[in-house]
Amino acid sequence: MRKLLLASMIILVIVAVAFGAFDWKRFQGQTITVLFVKHPFTEAILPYISEFTKKTGISVSFLVLPETEYWDKLNIDLSSGQGSYDVFMTGPSIAWQHAYAGWIESLDSYVNDPELTSPNYDFEDFYPAFISANRWNLKMGGGLGEGKLWAIPVMVETSILAYRKDIFDKYGIKVPETYEEWAKVAAELMKVADKEGVYPVIQRGARDITSIQAGYYTAFSTYGAKDFDENMNCTINSPEGVKITEIWVNTIKKYGPPDWTNVTWFDLMERFASGKYGMVIDCDFFAGVYENPKKSKVTGKVAYALPPKGPDGAIRSNIWTWSLSMNSRSKHKGAAWYFIQWVTSKEILLKSALYGNLDPVRKSVWEHPDVVKMTEAWGGGTWRKVVTQMLEKYAAWRPTPQTELIAMWTRWIEALHEIYAGKATAKEALDRAARDIDKIMERAGIKK
């Protein structure tokens, strides 16, 4: 009897040592500082941070800032080499700059280290496209999806079409499947605009890079246009680029809000929810607002569809994925990795999804019964169907890696404003913008 007990104890110890290679309490007693953007993701995570501290013994001090101030503060901290923030929110285009400047840690060595990553982490559970979006080999003009992993995504947003099913049904309007049809549907909606109290379309238009990011870039890519060619010449003024921009801006000009040049993504979301617009091609998870009777007047009246197809029949949605990066100057890299790992684990991403952090970047979370239950009623079931296809097939990061995206897209939205104001045709405005962008690339040493 005693021998059996001893033998089983020895076996237990061996087993414990083998599986005990990863220890959540390894960095206990340390403190990390995290910088958050004011965003549904942050609101979803903050209530659980005390759980993290209990689990790991690592204290977390954090700061939450609105987006504009966030980038300023982050940039200043990173460029000064202070290392004040161990972990911070980022996205692919931002991570390109940070990686280029050497400000962030590459995370592969952490993910692949069994002593630093829990065996339950299941890295394969992430949708490949969204991990790819955060990989870059530091070569300007290419290399997306290759090279080191600079951040781990916590959510993703794709662009889909949300429309007022009640109005479409009432007048027998068909859901548009191409951008040309989209313009025609807008014209049809215009005829009943006064009666129904809606403008046909709303899209982002403020002088900000987020105006290029979502609906417009999706239309641009879907139509077959690209931002650069292999030699890093700017090609936003290609024939396809000009054509889709013409359709886009002219439709908004004729059938959209008259202050389009000031409409931010936030205005867009609020206005569609207020019931004053017929269609919008934008962030899919705004459905969380549209379907919430406390926040919207259109609950139960909206349906969702795939965004329009391009001339070649394909759909190419752009994405934005908020992700977490680690400061290369962090003095607590192990503890910082534990935080990133914990936030992006199955359990926490699931909890945050149920709290409103969408879309999930993990398959297991998207298909979890609780998430399915929460989302399958949206748009009478259309939302889940559409977004599943987006996550699996149609959504990926489209822009070309380079460090001057912010300057480039600011010049790009200026061109769209010029077209809108009637001060230039689409070709003229985009030609001028492409030349200016080439100059920006030359100045940064990216293009010779």
Binding site: Q97, R207, N262, A407, E418
Partner: protein, 291 residues
């Protein structure tokens, strides 16, 4: 100084001011240094390029556009603020409950943070916002305010006037109330008309206050950022892209810090020369009068 101890005490009292001066001059000096380099926030290497940034800026179309926008903004905003301020100050002279209540109302905008005011005005200036609604009662068709590249600049000027008219009114009101009464009485006795009194007595006596108003407002308006950032962010297109906004974009958004600092230095130089010349004349004239 009577003795060395007094000298030491005097120096001790000067220390805080000296520390403050160093605290201000150090970042200023660093900024000048960086403006002579090709410093980019995301680049680990930086080299001295001399006046290259300054030359690029002066050769840049964008810069001169910003100068034009800033100049229009400054000239119109300050002129209206001073002229209207003078008028309102006149109306607010005197005593009594009504005057005091009116003064309180006039000074209210000064208590609102500019960014909040910008957001409130942005909402009011929306195409179906309050402003167009009220204007429709007197038959004026919808104005595009902040959404039109033709109107946006005047719309933000309007916001600036709303915010800072109380400031000029306050200065000019205290100026008016501090004026000696004898010249006015003498003029009235001599039979001068109200307009003549205003033109030949009030204005000349008020000149120091007017110049002070102009200088303060010009220095402030040249730096305008918050109102524009809270509304149009420099758009539509680049209709409201003042120098300060361009500097912010170039430096903090596009990482071209050396370039942005050079642009700020140019703005500083102009502001410095302007204040020196105008205030210099003010004090020089005063000295002449006193002697």
């Amino acid at each position: 100084m009577k003795n060395r101890t007094e000298a030491k005490i005097a120096f001790l009292f000067l220390t805080p001011a000296l520390l403050l001066l160093i605290g201000i001059l150090y970042p200023f000096g660093v900024a000048i240094y960086y403006s002579l380099t090709n410093f980019r926030l995301i680049s680990p290497v930086m080299k001295f390029v001399g006046l290259k940034n300054y030359i690029s800026i002066i050769a840049s179309e964008d810069f001169w556009h910003s100068v034009k926008v800033t100049t229009i903004f400054t000239v119109i905003a300050v002129s209206i603020e001073v002229i209207l301020g003078l008028g309102i100050a006149h109306l607010l002279m005197g005593k009594g409950k009504l005057v005091n209540t009116l003064r309180l109302l006039v000074f209210t905008p000064m208590m609102i943070p500019p960014v909040i005011a910008a957001i409130i005005w942005k909402t009011m200036m929306a195409p179906d916002g309050v402003l167009n609604y009220l204007l429709s009662f007197i038959g004026i068709k919808k104005i595009a305010w902040l959404a039109s590249s033709d109107w946006a600049l005047f719309s933000v000027i309007l916001i600036d006037i709303w915010l800072y008219l109380p400031f000029t009114t306050l200065i000019l009101l205290s100026g008016l109330e501090s004026l000696p009464q004898e010249p006015f009485e003498a003029a009235r006795v001599d039979g001068a008309s109200r307009f003549q009194i205003f033109r030949y007595i009030t204005i000349p006596l008020l000149k120091p206050f007017i110049i002070l108003c102009i200088v303060f407002r010009v220095i402030d308006v040249l730096k305008t950022f918050d109102i524009i950032y809270g509304t149009t962010k420099g758009g539509p297109i680049d209709a409201t892209r003042v120098i300060q906004l361009a500097v912010y974009e170039e430096g903090l958004k596009w990482n071209n810090m050396g370039y942005a600092l050079a642009e700020i230095m140019i703005l500083w130089l102009f502001t410095y020369l302007f204040s020196q010349i105008t205030l210099g004349r003010l004090f020089f004239k005063r000295e002449m009068r006193q002697s």
